[in-house]
């Protein structure tokens, strides 16, 4: 199956800032794809290049097999929700959406606009001026204008930015429902990792303009995941070194007081026994031992670390 989006070795520089540094990623059709990375990682630049808004300096950019720059054919097949939503503020919601539908050549544009407003739960605000909408309503209008023409691909850049937690969840649920009902491929960028884990299966970790890891979240979990224990104690470097000799540790990080130990399989009581013995031998106080399955945030950190 041909990828909907194919980026290969893409570079983009803004003045002194190297925004994308050889970024490559592929998005399969019919998925909700997550672009994960901290602020300044290059997510928005990736989204803007993919949507044909800016050009890359070098590399291959293909959306539906074509270069998206000033390409009407590609643009009419995608919908974009920008991070900074901005619409003509004096227009009324329904008027604006009808005009957007008209731009895409949707037949019976007003009827379709109303359908979409119902879908995003904004029909009650159809006669309100855009300038009078709340941040959450604007985000919903953003989604509505991105799907009004029934696109094959929707790109949403930080769709939950500036929203309260309740509204964030609602917007993500809306994306999940739209994906389920319309079968649209979604690309969502976010720096809020646990949120993306709720809706995405395929993800790419972006950092400093590069993709550090791309694939199914479950695959990544099995490769980089496992069990992690956080141990707070004195003489942490010494304890860490001794722990490595006694147990089958996958990876280990530590500073003066904190040790983070990774295991492929849960060591269970063996870890507690080993820590107890070490503490006795070198006379240190162990303050706490916490365990957890490696979360998305931890996976991201580890993917970047492992390069």
């Amino acid at each position: 199956m041909n990828p909907v989006i194919n980026l290969e070795n893409v570079y983009k520089r803004f003045g002194r800032v190297q925004a994308l540094n050889g970024l490559s990623l592929q998005v399969k059709p019919g998925t909700i794809f997550g672009l994960i990375g901290p602020n300044g990682a290059g997510k928005t630049t990736t989204v803007r290049i993919t949507a044909g808004i800016i050009r890359c300096d070098s590399g291959l950019v293909e959306v539906f097999g074509e270069n998206p720059w000033d390409n009407i054919e590609v643009k009419s097949r995608i919908g974009v929700l920008h991070e900074r939503v901005s619409y003509p503020k004096n227009l009324k919601v329904l008027d604006f959406l009808t005009r957007v539908a008209n731009i895409y050549g949707v037949s019976d544009a007003e009827k379709r606009a109303l359908e979409v407003l119902k879908l995003v739960d904004l029909v009650n605000a159809k006669n309100r001026a855009i300038k009078g909408l709340s941040a959450g309503m604007l985000q919903k209008l953003g989604l509505a204008q991105a799907i009004v023409h029934d696109p094959e691909l929707v790109i949403a850049d930080e769709p939950t930015a500036n929203l309260d937690p309740l509204m964030r969840r609602k917007v993500l649920e809306l994306i999940r429902d739209l994906h389920r009902e319309l079968g649209v491929t979604f690309v969502i960028s976010s720096h809020i990792l646990p949120e993306l884990a709720l809706v995405c299966r395929d993800v790419a970790f972006i950092h400093k303009g590069r993709v550090y890891y791309q694939g199914d979240i479950s695959d990544i979990s099995s490769k980089l995941g496992g069990y992690v224990y956080r141990i707070i104690c004195g003489k942490a470097p010494q304890v860490a070194s001794m722990l490595k000799d006694r147990l089958r540790v996958k990876d280990l990080e530590y500073d003066e007081r904190l040790i983070r130990v990774y295991f492929d399989e849960d060591p269970g009581p063996n870890l507690f026994i080993a820590i107890g013995e070490i503490a006795k031998e070198i006379r240190v106080k162990v303050e706490s031992i916490e365990s957890s399955v490696v979360g998305l945030e931890e996976l991201f950190r580890r993917a970047v670390r492992s390069g």
């Binding site: 808004i53 009407i72 009419s76 901005s86 731009i103």
Partner: protein
């Protein structure tokens, strides 16, 4: 749901949105329109025996107001829209970049300039219909009066596209406006005192009103030393064409920049 994309329909919808956003409360346009009555009322007081002189004297204020109007319009409808992210939203839709910038030029420059040209034509016709005048004089006078306005407007548009911030673009445009006006005035003074005819033609490329006046109001353009500038019809048309060619090149550069390089 069916879909039948039409580039023209897409462009018309963008045009409709841009027009309604830019001229929702046309207060400045209204004021400029009221000022257009100024020449009608005071026409008998303006001692201008020639249409070309009448146009350049009587419409000085309306042209100045239109310049302000265009400047504000471009700063707020082009630069501020880039700043707020609205331009980014528009070019996400299936609209060609060239079409989009032409729509912006049509709304920002085309509408006020067309209104001014119409008003100039109607008012001048009313003021001179009793005396009688040739239509070509009216046509070239208006063309010359609007040329420099278009040139300034294109410079403002370039600034708005490069600065991408409404307030800053407005400030820089105003500063540049003063600098350009002073520079053109100094150049005109230099041309006058140098007494060299060729310089006169060169300065007319920037301000074509001079050559239209020199052609129709024969004997009115006298340089020091009694040198009278009396251009032929062909020379006047060539200078006007040269002036508009500069405008067209500026326009082409703006469109090419927006199509190939512009990033909101």
């Amino acid at each position: 749901m069916g879909r039948r994309y039409s580039r023209l329909r897409a462009d018309l919808n963008i045009l409709e949105i841009s027009l309604s956003s830019s001229y929702r409360f046309p207060l400045l346009e209204g004021l400029a329109f009221l000022y257009l009555f100024f020449p009608i009322v005071f026409a008998p007081l303006i001692r201008a025996p020639y249409v070309c002189q009448f146009v350049s004297y009587a419409f000085g204020l309306p042209v100045f107001l239109t310049q302000i109007l265009i400047l504000v319009n471009l700063a707020y409808s082009v630069a501020s829209e880039i700043e707020s992210g609205l331009t980014q939203t528009y070019i996400t839709y299936p609209v060609k970049r060239a079409d989009f910038i032409l729509i912006k030029i049509l709304v920002g420059l085309g509408v006020p300039i067309t209104l001014l040209a119409l008003a100039e034509a109607i008012v001048t016709y009313m003021a001179f219909s009793v005396v009688g005048f040739s239509l070509d004089e009216l046509f070239f006078s208006i063309l010359a009066s609007l040329g420099q306005l278009v040139m300034f407007a294109l410079v403002f548009l370039t600034i708005s596209l490069l600065i991408k911030k409404g307030g800053l673009a407005l400030g820089i445009s105003i500063a540049l406006w003063f600098i350009l006006s002073i520079a053109i005035s100094i150049f005109s003074l230099f041309v006058y005192f140098s007494g060299i005819k060729e310089f006169f033609y060169l300065s007319a490329l920037l301000n074509p009103t001079n050559i239209v006046n020199a052609y129709y109001a024969k004997g009115s353009s006298v340089l020091p030393g009694g040198i009278v500038v009396e251009p032929t019809f062909t020379e006047m048309v060539l200078v006007l064409l040269g002036h508009y060619a500069i405008n067209i090149v500026l326009l082409a550069i703006i469109i090419a920049y927006f199509m190939r390089r512009f990033e909101p």
